[in-house]
Amino acid sequence: MDSVLRAGLIYFFLLLLFRLAGKRTFSELTPFDFVLLLVLGEATQQGLLGDDVSVTNALVVVTTLVTIDVVMAAVKQRSSFLNRLLEGKAVLLIDDGNILHDRMRKAKVDEYDVLEAARSSHGLEELADVKYAVLERSGGISVIPR
């Protein structure tokens, strides 16, 4: 029983942490994010398995984690409230050419991030060429050119 409880507790705790950390934190893997992901696996391993390194325990833990993931996906499909809570919503950062500085500050996005998305997706050079910039649920930025 404790294997299932450990796996569930760690899964939901990590989910809460990543939701609170903000979308931009993990949208693009920087070296810092990569190191964090590597270390996170090691940090949670002992908590998941405890002193029990049997194959049975490992299979129970893995099954619990995958089951939680599948159930969460099904629940999100059926509940728009939970879907919103777990995935978030997209918002505009540039609205018809107007840069929404306050939103960008709150979303921890700067003009360089938007310009980078504009260059990589449409080859645009200036923010003036951007009609809309959307901060997607994933933390990525989509650009609609003029």
Binding site: L20, R84, A90, V91, A107, V134
Partner: protein
């Protein structure tokens, strides 16, 4: 001017996202608080975790961590009086059965001459070297239960020290 689909989407979503940003800021503050608490020893190993209890009649002093993690190592540091009224060269430390069921003893330093099971506990005999010296014993333990727990130790037939710990899961 008619609203574009993106502007309509934005209008529907912005209230929720604003609340999300506030929750995120609160969450980050909470994370910082948790880290500071951990540094202070609230989750074991830190300045506020250690405490000391003494038995004024017996001369026994116990230093231990109030807050410990299950599976995490910790010590019971016991100072026993070396000079006993009966002049014996052995001092005996009694630890309650109830406490020993909650933890696994990894090591006892110095190594006791003898460990004997007595009523409701275990007795560890330590040799006393020199005159009037106290015997400092370090018992390394690993808790294997969770929640608030209580223990008791002291000299055999002497004053007991009762102590409480909280074992985090």
């Amino acid at each position: 001017m008619t609203e574009s689909r993106l502007q309509e989407m934005d209008r529907r979503n912005i209230a929720f996202v604003e609340r999300e940003w506030i929750a995120s800021r609160i969450g980050v503050v909470a994370m910082v608080v948790i880290v500071v608490m951990a540094l202070a020893g609230v989750f074991s190993v830190g300045p506020i975790s250690w405490t000391e209890k003494s038995g004024p009649e017996s001369g026994v002093t116990l230093r231990y961590e109030k807050l410990v993690r299950r599976g995490g190592p910790t010590d019971l540091q016991v100072s026993l009086p070396g000079a006993l009224s009966d002049g014996s060269r052995t001092v005996s430390l009694w630890i309650s059965d109830g406490y020993l069921e909650l933890v696994r003893i990894e090591n006892v330093v110095p190594q006791p001459d003898k460990a004997t099971s007595v009523s409701s506990g275990v007795l560890y005999d330590f040799a006393v070297a020199g005159e009037d010296r106290s015997v400092d014993v370090r018992i390394s333990i690993t808790p294997h239960s969770i929640g608030p727990q209580a223990g008791s130790l002291g000299l055999l037939d002497g004053e007991r020290i009762d102590f409480q710990q909280f074992f985090y899961p």
